[in-house]
Amino acid sequence: MSSRCRERSRVAALAALTLIAALVAGCERESRQFDPPAPGAVLARDRPTAMLVSRYERNAHALAAGKRLYTWFNCAGCHAAGGGGAGPALMDDVWIYGGDADAIVASIAKGRPNGMPAFGARLSNDQVWQLAAYVRSTSGLAPQDAAPNRDDAFLTRTPESFMDSQDPGRAIPSAATGAGR
Amino acid sequence: MTRRERIPASVPAVRRGDALDVADLPSYGFAHRSLMWWGNAGMMAIEGVAFGFMIVIYFYLQSLSLQWPDAGKPADLLFGNINLALILASAIPNYLAGRAALDRDTRRVRRWLYVCSIIGIALCVVRWYEFTALNVRWDDGAYGSTIWVLLGLHTFNLVTDVADTMVLTAVTYSKPVEGKRFVDIAENCGYWYFIVLTWLPIYVVVYWAARF
């Protein structure tokens, strides 16, 4: 095999790899998985698995669903549009109980002292994870190409896709999510 | 001498036997005789349509709105007025550059293109300050969005034509200068009139339409 030929096959391999990367990235960001995963997979309380990251935090559909639920379930009643009110702010880099997805999932599902109710029984696991992913996106922790844009509503806040990443200062950085980028 | 007379009539094609000999026809021509003029006219039509519809959008949204501007207050006039004065003034060196191009006078062309470029750069700087004086952000509401895009569209054309002018100035140094290049310069001057003329309605819309 001549070196030129090898060169060419290397280029081809590289192109194929790029293509696969694009495919994976595109599919991860854009897939609309309507059926929730098996309950066991979602309930894992240790570090979020790659599946969960790809399914929620890097997925435009899940983030949009999270945003919808945030409005529907009146999270804004306490947390306002992420800026905080009766509840703590969500769009900054301060996380009282940790800023990675599983910590937020725990906060939503189990509740926290001083007012945060437990929604575990009243929301499906899927919804909790969607909410958690959305909450992280308000701090710019979701990839910009999957994060929600502005709403067709009164302008109350910067769209999530514009948020600069607020690296969780006091929170334990999440290895698996790699700060969302 | 008017511009019209400066575009000489054609040297005729000559009949030789059953053929029409065109060897003596000029190898380039100015204004509507050149292909470039027609291409340029097409481009101006395209951009003119875009400007026109942006203005239509402005008034459409205004007609739907109870309060206009719906956010912020009307733009400050200072820089807009400076821009208006400057852009109207720029028509003069532009005219002179165009005439020099028709005379195929490299030195005069260059001189006036320099003046045009300098005014053009000044216009870009003023334009920057205009954006800061709009008193509204593009994402504050429909009013802000519209005037930002309107001004942005014109700025895009302004910047590209100023860049064009500068490139043409630089290109006059690449010798020899063939006749066709003077056609390009003349056409660039024609395009600049378009920038000047479109600025008038856009100026009125951006700066005055929200005041009444």
Binding site: P36, P39, A65, W72, A121, L123, S124, N125 | -
Partner: protein, 322 residues
């Protein structure tokens, strides 16, 4: 499964009838025009002699033929212009007929389109008498109905083929449509503007009741939800109140107060679930609650992860809410 009449050519209201008349007229005229053109073409093809590529083209002037052709084309153009003008007049007249529905004593309904269901609100002067239902409008036969249309999210379009034309529901804009059903029956309608994954499953039924039946229906709807009668139904209500259901759905008289999904106060009286997607039977209710995404992928309803017994209890309770 409930199926309603939904055919432009089977009108049951004065407006749809006017449009159907116009349709018939257009169909006849257009068919005649089509046939005429095809016959003209056929005659032209049939009468023209055949030739080959090698035949010299005919450049000679044929004043007589040309005159005849000119006359023919002229007449054809004149005839088509006249026909078009006639159709135009017919269209305008139909338009006026459609707009002239007498509206005195009309029933007023607010209809909000959501992805992917219809929320109907029957307002009343006394707020206690107002109620909401979903995907199934009841209207009295012979009385005009004015529906005020709102869109909650994206653009939808209300289309009831047998009753009236369609009207878009556009976010930020309010619009109205009026119609009258002259015959009792069930009329199917559907969202006609593409609105997302489940645009296909966004049907709406208009049930035209005789006036007394309509009054009975109205009275029933105005009452709060029925109290559970059996232990199973009681268990069902408890589950609805304590699990995910109450986050989105309302059942008047219980703690379920969500406002984001169809009002379930009288869900048992409705013929279908999920905007006409499945019949409202006990088994289908269980299927729907267990895995709505299988029935209607992309719908906002989440699957409920409960033991089968509980699911059956919820289904039984909901079925009892007539």
């Amino acid at each position: 499964m409930m199926s309603g009449i939904h055919d432009v050519r089977v009108p049951v209201g004065p407006q749809a009838a006017a449009i159907t008349d116009l349709w018939t007229l257009m169909l006849v005229v257009c068919t005649v025009v089509f046939v005429a053109i095809m016959v003209a073409l056929a005659i032209a093809v049939w009468r023209a002699p055949r030739a080959t590529e090698k035949a010299a083209a005919d450049l000679a002037e044929h004043p007589r033929i040309d005159r005849r052709l000119r006359r023919g084309v002229g007449w054809a153009v004149a005839a088509s212009s006249l026909l078009l003008a006639g159709l135009l007049v017919a269209s305008f007249m139909t338009d006026r007929a459609v707009a002239r529905l007498p509206l005195h004593d009309a029933v007023r309904i607010d209809l909000v389109a959501h992805r992917f269901w219809w929320e109907a609100r029957y307002d009343a002067a006394d707020p206690a008498l107002a109620f909401a239902t979903a995907n199934e409008l009841h209207v009295p036969v012979g009385r005009a109905v004015i529906v005020t249309l709102y869109a909650d999210d994206v653009i939808h379009s209300l289309w009831l083929p047998s009753l009236a034309g369609k009207k878009d529901l556009i976010p930020g804009r309010e619009s109205t449509i009026a119609f009258r059903a002259d015959i009792a029956g069930v009329y199917r309608g559907q969202c006609a503007e593409f609105c997302g994954y489940q645009h296909a499953h966004m049907a709406l039924f208009v049930v035209a009741d005789p006036p007394d039946e309509y009054a009975r229906w109205l009275a029933r709807q105005r009452a709060p939800a029925r109290e559970p009668a059996t232990a199973q139904e009681r268990r069902g209500r408890e589950l609805v109140e304590t699990t995910t259901c109450g986050m989105c759905h309302t059942i008047a008289g219980t703690t379920a107060r969500g406002r984001r999904a169809p009002d379930l106060t009288h869900v048992g009286s409705r013929q279908t679930l999920a905007a006409g997607t499945i019949p409202n039977s006990a088994t289908e209710r269980v299927t729907w609650i267990t895995d709505p995404q299988k029935v209607k992928p992309g719908v906002d309803m989440p699957p409920i992860d409960l033991p089968p017994r509980d699911l059956v209890a919820i289904a039984a309770y909901l079925g009892s809410l007539e």
